[in-house]
């Protein structure tokens, strides 16, 4: 793919914690991890999706003022950021594997409308739906 969305960023409360979560628990790979003073550009990739990066950013100075950073930290912690969807081949198998790894699920797998879906949160509060690819179901 030569055109399209290349990166979408998430706000996380702690980049080390987010890196550990997305890499160790979800199986993503680090794409870029660069520090410049207090600023850290950190992106990860799904192993099957080389043209897309997920950015893991901390709402903080120097990009944001203190009030905006605090407001964003609260919004993330309240689970108020927009929905995220992870597509998997086998939702129940992924659920078993991820729960054993310590992922916080807020919805166990449910079969409905020709698919299976579950829900989990990252440590910061970002909410993911994990949806089984319809091709397999």
């Amino acid at each position: 793919m030569s055109q399209g969305v290349g990166m979408v960023g998430l706000y996380v409360r702690d980049q080390d914690e987010a890196l550990e979560f997305y890499v160790e628990k979800l199986g993503f790979k680090v794409h870029t991890d660069m520090k410049n003073g207090d600023y850290r550009w950190l992106t990860v990739q799904h192993p099957d999706q080389p043209s897309f990066q997920l950015g893991l950013f901390k709402p903080a100075s120097p990009v944001l003022d203190a009030g905006s950073a605090q407001a964003l930290r609260e919004i993330v912690a309240k689970g108020a950021m927009p929905p995220l969807v992870l597509v998997v081949d086998d939702c129940r198998a992924a659920f078993d594997r991820m729960r054993a790894a310590g992922v916080e699920f807020n919805q166990e797998p449910v079969a409905r409308f020709g698919s299976v879906d579950a829900g989990f949160r990252d440590p910061s509060g970002n909410g993911w739906k994990m949806v089984q690819s319809r091709r397999k179901s």
Binding site: R73, E74, K78, G79, P83, R121
Partner: protein, 164 residues
Amino acid sequence: MIIDGRVSQDPEILRRLLRAKDRMDAASHEEWPVRRLARVSGVSEAHFARSFKEAFGIPPHRYLLTRRIERAKALLRDTDLAITEIAFQTGWSSLGTFGRTFRDVTGDSPGELRAREKAAPHQLERVPVCFVSAAHRPDLTIAVSEKRRQDADGMNESDETEVP
């Protein structure tokens, strides 16, 4: 803490309050007394209800009510379960209380809502079901008792007097 004139809450505590909200979402048919929710969040019972309301704009018991009504609406729409069974499955112990509360919140009786929803075509198949569910959640900005009283009085506005 106040930043730029806005009351600010500790993100670590908000993250734990979110856990209580998630637990109610996952099992809205269960009983969720403040003691149980406070334990999930790791905050004191004395602070839980106020902190929850500050965080999510609605007292915890009313949030639970919106989730129960939302689930009952989905079951009325998507299944052929008897209304008694739906009341039981969504956490009510009395069919009368369920019917009255449902009408107070949605404006319809469960049977009326089912008849209308079944007659209407739906175009939501492309939206993941959890988000459809959220879109159908009642926006309960006032207490049900207050809504009931307003409807009875024919009033549109009133000060909220509920104490969390």
